[in-house]
């Protein structure tokens, strides 16, 4: 370990300022898990303080204690130097502590505005003032440069937009302390830039911001100091500007990571594994055709709402399609349900693990086995739990899933570890064609590197892989070829190693504008 905790702390502390928040020697245990032991954290007014650590390190738990969701088992929390007891989210709000939770906490049946002002609805006499509610919301959206109707129901929004609503909600509290637990996991670059503008503005106003993220580049861009946690313990606090990323990472994982470069094998000669011809559905998917070869990783890039997820779901049979053909290994296959797709050798890792990926009530073992249960059925229809256990253990080791055992309920895992469980499910299923929709969302650097390695290995084994990602560096790092989508159309197919600028150009090439002017011309 390059920097000892003690020196890290002393080097970064300016003793003359009373910190806004101090958390000292915090312990927290859940049944079967010690989430925190002797955790420490300190936040000053007007700073962005990044909280880093691997999946399951205890970041979210620590911040849930600060925001009144959990009560600590031991330790002390001070606000402006005064010891405080925070026993409910309401109390935390009253003390000026706001939080954006990692797992979206929205009321799906309510509108964006109703979500943002829940508990603080503007009223006229006894009645709710819906007009004021929507006006206020509009003002917040405007300040965020977000174009969203306040009256839209949250459940119709994509995760990215739901995340923006969460951010708007947190901003509306005008807190002195604002905790952001992986706010950018679902956002694209433009949205992230917008968020950073907001953060800088708040910082200038003297708000203390806790920033949790697994995206290393963001840490450098936005934060002043970084506190690193490992296994529920405090490792150290370092200034962000003059600490190399490698140092932070090695503090997180307790070892040095080697950054393997992507090996691009020559796949041009390999046979086509999956071919999509003229896929259509409404305005979301318009005449999309492409193919993926065996051993190839095809990246799908695009802005939010470009329709990448829709294409993936349509291929997988999760949603109906209006027209289009799907060919696997040169044979046309009829896919009208996920079952057909899996039978044809296609696996799909969804972007929304809570809703579509994980059976949260089941344990880790059964979640991993969910798509391949028939493998574990022995004579007489009896399930071979021993074999299932061994398989699960293998994946827990291989993907470093942090869980007390393979019988832990999946919902009790940290966000990143849940994602790994879903990945393990598809790895076990052993599909020839794998579609990964945001596979590294909420995954820590160490695990991310492992997943990249894994994708490469899978490709080398001859599998065809589609990776949908909103992180351009990730797309660029992984893909042999890059498809770019905009407004439901595939606007271009680039070779691996293309530039970010080229991708962005295609991603903003508004085909509808072109098409509409064309048709206008025709009719005129």
């Amino acid at each position: 370990m390059p920097i000892s905790p003690a020196t890290a702390l002393s080097s970064s502390l300016d003793a003359s300022v009373t910190p806004l928040v101090e958390m000292l020697d915090i312990d927290k245990a859940f049944p079967g898990v010690r989430a925190l032991s002797g955790a420490r954290f300190e936040l000053r007014a007007g700073e962005v303080h990044a909280l880093m650590g691997e999946n399951g390190a205890g970041k979210s738990t620590l911040m849930k204690i600060l925001s009144g969701v959990y009560t600590r088992d031991a330790g002390e929390v001070r606000l402006n130097g005064q010891p405080v007891e925070i026993t409910s989210p309401r109390q935390a709000q009253d003390m000026g502590i706001g939080i954006i939770h990692q797992e979206l906490a929205l009321m799906r049946d309510l509108t964006a505005a109703q979500n943002i002002f829940i508990g603080r609805e503007p009223r006229r006499a006894f009645l709710l003032d819906e007009g004021a509610l929507n006006r206020n919301t509009h003002a917040i959206f405007d300040s965020m440069n977000l174009k969203l109707e306040p009256t839209v129901k949250v459940e119709t929004l994509t995760i990215a937009k739901q995340q923006m609503v969460e951010i708007a909600k947190a901003l509306s509290y005008q807190s002195r302390v604002l905790i952001m637990d992986e706010p950018t996991a679902a956002l694209n670059d433009a949205e992230i830039a917008e968020l950073f503008t907001i953060i800088n503005r708040l910082k200038a106003e003297g708000v203390g911001i806790v920033y949790i993220s697994h995206k290393m580049d963001e840490i450098k861009r936005i934060s002043d100091r970084v506190t690193i946690m490992r296994d529920g313990e405090y490792v150290g606090t370092v200034p962000a500007a003059d600490t190399p990323i490698e140092t932070i990472i090695s503090m997180m994982v307790g070892r040095t990571l080697t950054n393997d470069a992507l090996v691009i094998p020559n796949t041009s000669a390999a046979p086509v594994a999956l071919e999509v011809r003229n896929l259509n559905r409404g305005r979301e998917i318009r005449d999309v055709s492409f193919s993926v070869r065996k051993g190839e990783i095809l990246g799908l890039a695009g802005l939010m709402g470009a329709g990448r997820t829709e294409v993936a779901r349509a291929i997988f049979g999760a949603d109906p399609r209006e027209s289009g053909e799907i060919w696997v290994n040169g044979n046309r296959v009829g896919i009208s349900s996920p079952q057909d797709a899996v039978r044809a050798g296609i696996g799909y890792l969804s972007e929304d693990r809570k809703q579509f990926g994980l059976a949260t009530g089941l344990d880790v073992r059964n979640n991993i086995a969910l798509a391949s249960l028939e493998r574990f059925i022995g004579p007489g229809g009896v399930i071979n739990d021993g074999a299932m256990h061994e398989t699960a253990e293998k994946f827990i080791r291989q993907l470093s899933i942090k869980t007390p055992s393979d019988t832990q309920e999946a919902r009790l895992l940290s966000g990143g570890n849940q994602q790994k469980v879903v990945i393990a499910k598809w790895l076990l299923r052993d599909c020839d064609i794998l579609i990964f929709d945001e596979p590294t969302r909420g995954i820590d650097v160490g695990a991310k590197a492992e997943i990249y390695k894994l994708l490469n290995a899978l490709a080398e084994q001859g599998r065809a892989i589609i990776v949908i990602s909103s992180e351009l560096p990730e797309i660029l790092r992984l893909s042999h070829r890059i498809g770019v989508m905009c407004e439901g159309r595939l606007t271009g197919m680039l070779p691996g190693g293309s530039s970010q600028e080229e991708i962005m150009r295609l991603a903003t090439l508004r085909p509808s504008a072109v098409a509409e002017t064309n048709s206008e011309r025709k009719s005129a």
Binding site: R90, I118, G119, E121, L128, K147, L148, V152, E194, G305
Partner: protein, 331 residues
Amino acid sequence: MTDITAPATKSGVRISGAFHRLLAFSGLIALVVVFSIASPNFMQTQNVLAILQATSVNGVLAIAATLVIITGGIDLSVGTLMTFCAVITGVVLTNLGMPLPIGILASILAGTFCGLISGSIIAKLKVPPFIATLGMMLILKGLSLVVSGTKPIYFNDTPGFNQIALGSAVGSIFPSVPVPNGVLILFLVAAIAAFVLSKTALGRYTFALGSNEEAVRLSGVNVDRWKIAVYATAGGICGVAGLLIASRLNSAQPALGQGYELDAIAAVVIGGTSLSGGRGTVVGTLIGALIISVLANGLRILSVAQEWQTVVTGSIIILAVYADILRRRTL
């Protein structure tokens, strides 16, 4: 950040919203048309009034159940709570000889109080709504018998009591449409409930709780208090139903009420409110309750054998909901 979908969605919602509301009646209308063709007696004013009258008690109970179900809960005690409120009114008016308004108040207060208890058991002790209200259903069933001395209490000494449900304020002004007060009260309760749901904080939290209770809690809202308030409101509405049934029978029948909860919940679900919470409308519930009573009335008018009435009712309930699902899917 560009957003091409928002405007499209908005007009889409508008169109489909109106269309929806129009079509929601389709099951009901289909039934009415079929029965009108099958029997000339069906569409006569008197029969229409009889159907509405028959809807009143179940309709009011179903509105109470709607509130609770939108929070994602369930209330199995609506039927016996109604009876308990009727018995309390009987005690207050007949046994204690109090004036009518106090009897009315007593019924609604008794309902609110019992709802408060159910709500507290659910919110504070975290007992699942199904169990808390099942227990309450049994407790109230027993207490109705205890309080009444297992005998009906008659309201012969309270002149005008049966006017609550049977009189016709409308009829005294427009003699050609003698809509009974019971029906009026049903529509009044429905209007108030719809208003509360859409315009007040209570309504907002009702939907919010059913949508994602944990998120509401994380937003710093006093979830327990609002949940208790919803159950208490539902209880108060059951008190109104207690008045209606007592007035119609001119007596508080202590043994009645169990089994009514299923009819009420059925009306709610047929009306499109989801048992998993977060969505539902009072208008839907009214339509659901009407479907149930039109069905019962129509089959009786046609003199269908009772055992077959049951079979047909079961099938049509499934069909009505299936039709509703198809309609939503195609939209």
